[in-house]
Symmetry: C2
Subunit: 147 residues, 2 copies
């Protein structure tokens, strides 16, 4: 497949990651539009699928200033997708939890993203997908973002 070999020759490691990242971001934007939320809102909701999370932890995970997160949570709370829940042990703190509607939307959009990415990779051999996943996992582990 000369076109892929030629493309590989022209595309460095860094450029490959950047272009892949943009492609994923565009796909993310498409999915969020389909679900009538913004990409940032969708990312927040997906982050909460595993259970309620505190604001400090969320701002760390999303790489946002706390004040930006306050606004983002305000907007999805206003839509009834999340609720602020008092922390039992620390009256300063609150946990952000998905409502039923928020959980439904989060799971659906998460599945939609996953489905489209799997479709994107449809023609790739399984061995290539596993290889890509394995190398990325190692990258993320080294960077310290895998928990």
């Amino acid at each position: 497949m000369t076109t892929t070999i030629e493309a590989t020759a022209e595309l460095g490691f860094a450029a490959a990651l950047v272009r892949m990242s943009h492609l994923v971001q565009h796909l993310f934007a498409d999915v969020s539009r389909d679900h009538d939320i913004t990409p940032q809102q969708m990312q927040l909701l997906c982050m909460l699928i595993g259970g309620p999370v505190g604001m400090t932890e969320l701002s760390r995970l999303l790489h946002l200033e706390k004040s930006s997160l306050t606004g983002l949570v305000d907007r999805v709370e206003r839509r009834g997708l999340v609720a602020r829940v008092r922390d039992a042990r620390d009256r300063r703190a609150c946990q952000i939890a998905l409502t039923d509607e928020g959980a439904r939307l989060a799971v659906e959009s998460h599945q939609d993203v996953t489905g489209r990415l799997d479709t994107l990779a449809g023609e790739l051999p399984d061995a290539d997908q596993e290889r890509l996943t394995s190398v990325i996992a190692r990258l993320l582990a080294q960077h310290g973002t895998l928990t």
Copy 2:
């Protein structure tokens, strides 16, 4: 290395791509902040390194509504980083070109991004980097975003 094997087992293909994409976006945000521009502005400037580009083509490349691109170009033009150049053959159209300062900033930030991504991959064997690049190139080729 059991931690990587365990991580790989838990991380599907789609999740790997999403997390990688977020990591790259965060790195992108860090670099743009260092250069005192926004991520969107940096992406635009980097897109112009190869030479002037028309608004229609830019909005396609950046996945933006034309009106959003007008605003983005306004803001970087106001900073003296780009200039709108009349199209010689079509008086409706203009090309967006980097100024000297814009070119300097674009090249520097592009090199900074590349450097940090290469550093990120510092511990990965060359074979893994080439493998990752090759699989991504094939993905992008299939998706039709490689030209």
